[in-house]
Amino acid sequence: MTPATLIACESLEAYVDGELSAAESAAFDKHMVGCATCQQQIERQLRLRALLRTDLARPTASDALRHRILSSLPQDQPESNVVNLPRRQWLAMAAAASVAAILASGATLYVLHPGSEDEWQEAILASHLRATLSGHVIDVASSDRHTVKPWFGGKTKVAPIVLDLADAGFPLIGGRLDIPQKDALPVLVYKAGRHVVSVFVRATEGAPPSGSTTINGFSILSWSEDGLAYSAVSDADSAELQAFQRAFAAARRALP
């Protein structure tokens, strides 16, 4: 082994970790073509990484802990906690109240139209609110669609198209799993300016639903793509969601 290849072999982990410069990375690519040891090692490294990233437990903060922390912070005037609630918290409380209202009205709708589109919309809105209120918007954080799509692999019955819409002003921030109704569904999470957009993906029976609606100030827009139904939920306005959907459709057409 010449000194040059020795250096290259040693760069393997930095290569896998994306820590090499573009030039170093290209040099390593070249080296790897002729190095069976590196080819074999890189596969082992990638398998280990995939295993760690999918199967390592991620214990989350309970609501009780969240509450304990927030209520233990010092206050300006301890006796007037309620008045001093920051705006965000008021908004959170208002939103929580509307979740309750939505859930209540959802229950009524269920009686009227079991399994209806209305029920679906109430469910995904409640799910979007739960995620944004708890701060747990994404299970896998990545702006790389090649990371997000495989992450869903095998976890849900539907495999969504994951598109990068950063150029259109809607950066992908990650994905999460959610159970708005009875099945675990993939949710793609994008940003639209300061707004979070949750895109729920499900298989449809019969005619795929489409169209937009507004519930309690939140916009919901549904469309279909390759036989799957996509529903985007956000506090962005419906014009912005429509722009998002146009960007999504355009990016889909651009795929090979």
């Binding site: 970790d17 437990a57 214990p59 903060a61 233990s72 206050q75 300006d76 705006r87 299970d139 976890k155």
Partner: protein
């Protein structure tokens, strides 16, 4: 900074990272209840020192506080007992429940076994190796950020990561890595 400003900043910067803090604390402490105490203490410190944050990435800054709090907390409250099976292990390994529906039951079982072995292998790593693995693979930090969190040179980060990975590969069934 007024208390109200501080609180608003804390809610914008730190609260969204509670789960990240919990991932790290749980893997350092080896159990959920110690981790919750550590996270609470770390969050109070974060709140107190918020004006010392001088820009840049907030997450590594917060994780450094969590890590230092954990070190002090564990020294004070834990004898050198080794926890081989973290009590959160099966709890939140992402979405195992659905596997059975999409794979064969045998494949799902194998997958679950492997996940269990992986979690136990990580739990069994010495502290200094476990923390770099968690910071790299769960928190997705760069070498430079990890170096800042554990207050060590980048070379040390690289050699510990490498050693940790070799230990994990040795601990897992051959075909899996």
């Amino acid at each position: 900074m007024s208390e109200t400003d501080r609180r608003t900043r804390f809610e914008q910067l730190a609260v969204p990272l509670l789960d990240d803090a919990m991932h790290l604390a749980a893997w350092l402490a080896g159990n959920r209840s110690d981790a919750e105490d550590i996270v609470q203490e770390a969050m109070l410190r974060t709140y107190k020192y918020l004006d010392r944050f001088s820009g840049g990435a907030f997450r590594p800054w917060l994780l450094a506080i969590v890590r230092n709090t954990a070190m002090t907390w564990l020294k004070r409250n834990r004898s050198s007992k080794v926890v081989l099976v973290p009590d959160f292990e099966s709890e939140e390994a992402p979405a195992m429940a659905d596997d059975a529906q999409v794979e064969s039951p045998e494949a799902a079982l194998l997958q679950r076994d492997l996940a269990g072995e992986l979690n136990r292998a990580v739990a069994a790593l010495p502290d200094e190796f476990r923390e770099v693995i968690v910071l790299r693979e769960l928190q997705d930090l760069s070498y430079k950020e990890i170096a800042a969190v554990i207050d060590a040179p980048i070379g040390t980060v690289m050699s510990r990561l490498s050693r940790a990975r070799r230990l994990l590969m040795d601990a897992l069934p051959e075909h899996s890595t």
